[in-house]
């Protein structure tokens, strides 16, 4: 099947994942059309992050199939999946702490520009890598901190860098795992703007707890409860969905907001 003919960026078919005897994901089906901003919500421990880990190749599903642009990802390593055009961020900040902000981003663009494992070329002479990295550094608003070691950034800055590393390689499918976790209201509003800009024209799949972020960004929302996708709908549809309200009993007010 030609990738261009496929309408869906990511597709999960009856995916299951057990850790030992514990079923974390029980039969998850999900279709993320190309170019959509898609959010996954659900109570704590519902398996949202596990879904991301399955899609990005960190874990392998126990059964079922995961497709990226119609191509099965089963058995592929994270770096192979990344090379197919899928990039992800992490809930717990996952950066290169001793490298500068600029170097963090530059590392993230090297593979996509075809430099691979080159040890015969001077990094500083790779103009395209430098320009692309500088563009991303500017986009994520860290130009002032360009040469600071990433480990010394503030929390919000590290979260922005986390997103920068994810999008720098130009992947068409972006997975963001709770991009605004732990942020203040104003920081999280900035993060939403940032996500909107950097994922323009791409497929975005994100896990998020902050409902204002979800309803502000997403075209479609899937609700995951106990390892199952119980509903997929537009934000308005999700708000009105009784099953979702039931599942969210404790946080129902939040949904109504």
């Amino acid at each position: 099947m030609n990738a261009l003919d496929v309408q869906n960026a990511v597709e999960l078919r009856a995916v299951r994942k057990n850790f030992g005897k514990t079923e974390i994901i029980r039969c998850a089906d999900l279709v993320v059309p190309k170019g959509q901003r898609f959010a996954i919500i659900g109570p704590n421990g519902a398996g949202k992050s596990t879904l991301f880990n399955l899609i990005s190749g960190r874990f392998e599903p126990t059964s079922g199939d995961i497709l990226l642009n119609g191509r099965s990802l089963i058995g592929l390593k994270p770096y192979q999946i990344n090379r197919l055009g899928l990039a992800r961020s992490f809930q717990i900040t996952n950066i290169f702490a001793r490298l500068s902000v600029f170097e963090n981003i530059r590392c993230a663009v090297l593979w996509s520009l075809g430099y691979k494992y080159a040890f015969w070329r001077s990094l500083d002479r790779l103009k395209d890598a430098r320009l692309r990295a500088e563009e991303v550094v500017e986009q994520i608003g860290l130009k002032r901190r360009r040469d600071s070691p990433a480990g010394l950034l503030t929390y919000a800055e590290q979260r922005a860098l986390e997103i920068g590393i994810t999008v720098a390689g130009g992947a068409e499918v972006i997975l963001l795992d709770e991009p605004t976790a732990g942020m203040s209201r104003s920081e999280s509003e900035q993060a939403v703007e940032l996500i909107r800009t950097v994922t323009h024209g791409k497929t975005l799949l994100m896990v998020e707890h902050d409902m204002s972020v979800v309803f502000g960004l997403a075209d479609q929302i899937s609700v995951v409860v106990y390892g199952e996708v119980i509903a997929t709908d537009s934000p308005a549809g999700i708000r009105a969905n009784l099953r979702v309200q039931e599942a969210y009993l404790g946080t129902a007010q939040e949904l109504q907001r």
Binding site: F96, L110, K116, A118, S122
Partner: protein
């Protein structure tokens, strides 16, 4: 990875550093021209290539290897066998290029062993390198044809293919050969830090998992780095083969691996020049310290211990931090603190070293009677008074050193805080 400073060097600054480096390499044997000095300088040169190559693993890629001597030593064996083949007329290569043969040997074994070791990272990697090191060291006695058994393989460096005018008879010619290769290797390894693979190796060191999610197979990254480090280690081994005209099973053993690790760490794994500093310290401690005292290995161990606990960045990081204090114009605030620290530590130093020397005199020098000289003072280790005095000085010294260190730490921390503050202001 920066040279010594975190800021990016200006082009003129880079020329200045490399110019000085070349000048030092050329001038060193004019200043230190005794036979002993030339031998020491030659050893520093060969060892510096070894520590620099080791730091490609430890400092740049986060791989703690306990078996680096395997690549140095096997490179040396390949080199010395090649030299003997040339002498026998079965092969042709000028002696000046023998180190390159050693390098290719090191890279070859990097491919063979690196494929196994880099399958895993972290602690498992360290354990596998230890195992490979033991494997190679023990096989030295199993394959006497290659390793030369207990005696090792010898050669005569003057019998090889010569470039006119260079016989490699006088040590000075060997020194310049080593200096030449040291320069080439330093440039090569520095250039490596500024290539895509070199930078990705840093990324793998910092966060191997994330490196996978930006498209890199971390196993291949580590494998390639081991091969390249093996190449430079092999060059170092080839130079040692020419320098000593002998390579034996000791050269692949755990003791050498340990030394390379220890002095790379002492010099500083966090900077590019650290390993070179480590190599200089190595030669000085071997030649000078061992002449002063029998207990020099013990002192070396103590220094290593203190560095691991209080200055894990090694000598180069100590230099770097103090240079930063100077650059921010805060040095005057630390002058007194340093004076206090060293004065307060002095009694501890004298007390402990005297005790150690007396123990050594008691245990090792029994044939020479019970009287020994420490710091020019005559001490009879058969009597209680010297012991009690030395112990008294040590105990008093421990107290003053503790107080001095506390005073210093307060001053140091406040200076560092102010520097961090003014850096944050500059960034804003």
């Amino acid at each position: 990875m920066s040279f010594l400073t975190h800021s990016r060097l200006h082009v003129s600054g880079a020329w200045l550093i490399w110019g000085t480096y070349i000048a030092v390499l050329i001038v060193a044997p004019w200043v230190f021209h005794s036979n002993l000095a030339l031998t020491v300088l030659s050893q520093i040169g060969a060892f510096a290539i070894a520590t620099l190559s080791y730091n490609m693993l430890l400092g740049q890629s986060g791989m703690l290897s306990f078996g680096h001597a395997v690549y140095i030593g096997l490179g040396g064996f390949i080199a010395i066998h090649t030299m003997n083949l040339v002498v026998a007329g079965k092969f042709w290569i000028p002696t000046s290029l023998i180190p390159l043969v050693g390098g290719l040997g090191g890279a070859f074994f990097g491919v063979v062993f690196g494929y196994v070791t880099t399958k895993r990272s972290g602690t498992t990697f360290a354990m596998i390198t230890l195992g490979i090191g033991e494997l190679v060291a023990s096989s030295a006695l199993t394959f006497p044809g290659f390793f030369g058994g207990e005696a090792g393989i010898t050669t005569d460096r003057t019998l090889g293919v010569k470039i006119p005018g260079i016989t490699y008879g006088p040590q000075i010619q060997v020194y310049y050969l080593i200096a030449f290769w040291l320069l080439i290797c330093t440039a090569g390894m520095y250039a490596f830090t500024r290539t895509p693979l070199g930078r990705i190796a840093n990324a793998v060191r910092d966060n191997p998992e994330r490196a996978q999610f930006i498209g890199y197979n971390t196993q291949i990254v580590r494998f390639l780095v081991v091969i390249i480090a093996g190449f430079f280690a092999g060059i170092s081994g080839g130079l040692s083969a020419i320098n000593f005209e002998i390579v034996s099973s000791e050269n692949v053993g755990a003791a050498v691996s340990g030394l390379v690790l220890l002095f790379t760490f002492l010099g500083g794994a966090g900077t590019f020049v650290g390993p070179i500093i480590g190599a200089v310290v190595y030669a000085l401690s071997y030649v000078l310290l061992s002449n002063i005292t029998n207990a020099w290995l013990l002192y070396l161990g103590l220094i290593f211990l203190i560095m691991v606990m209080y200055a894990p960045g090694g000598i180069s990081s100590l230099l770097q931090m103090n240079l930063r204090v100077v650059r921010f114009g805060q040095w005057h605030r630390l002058r007194l603190a340093y004076l206090v620290l060293f004065t307060a530590a002095l009694p501890l130093f004298f007390g402990v070293t005297t005790l150690i020397e007396m123990i050594y005199a008691l245990q090792l020098d029994v044939g020479n009677g019970t009287v020994t000289h420490v710091y020019g003072i005559e001490l009879d280790v058969a009597h209680a008074v010297p012991w009690m005095s030395a112990a008294g000085v040590a105990i008093l010294g421990a107290f003053t050193a503790f107080q001095g260190a506390r005073y210093f730490k307060v001053r140091w921390d406040s200076v560092q805080r102010d520097i961090a503050l003014s850096m944050a202001k500059a960034a804003a």
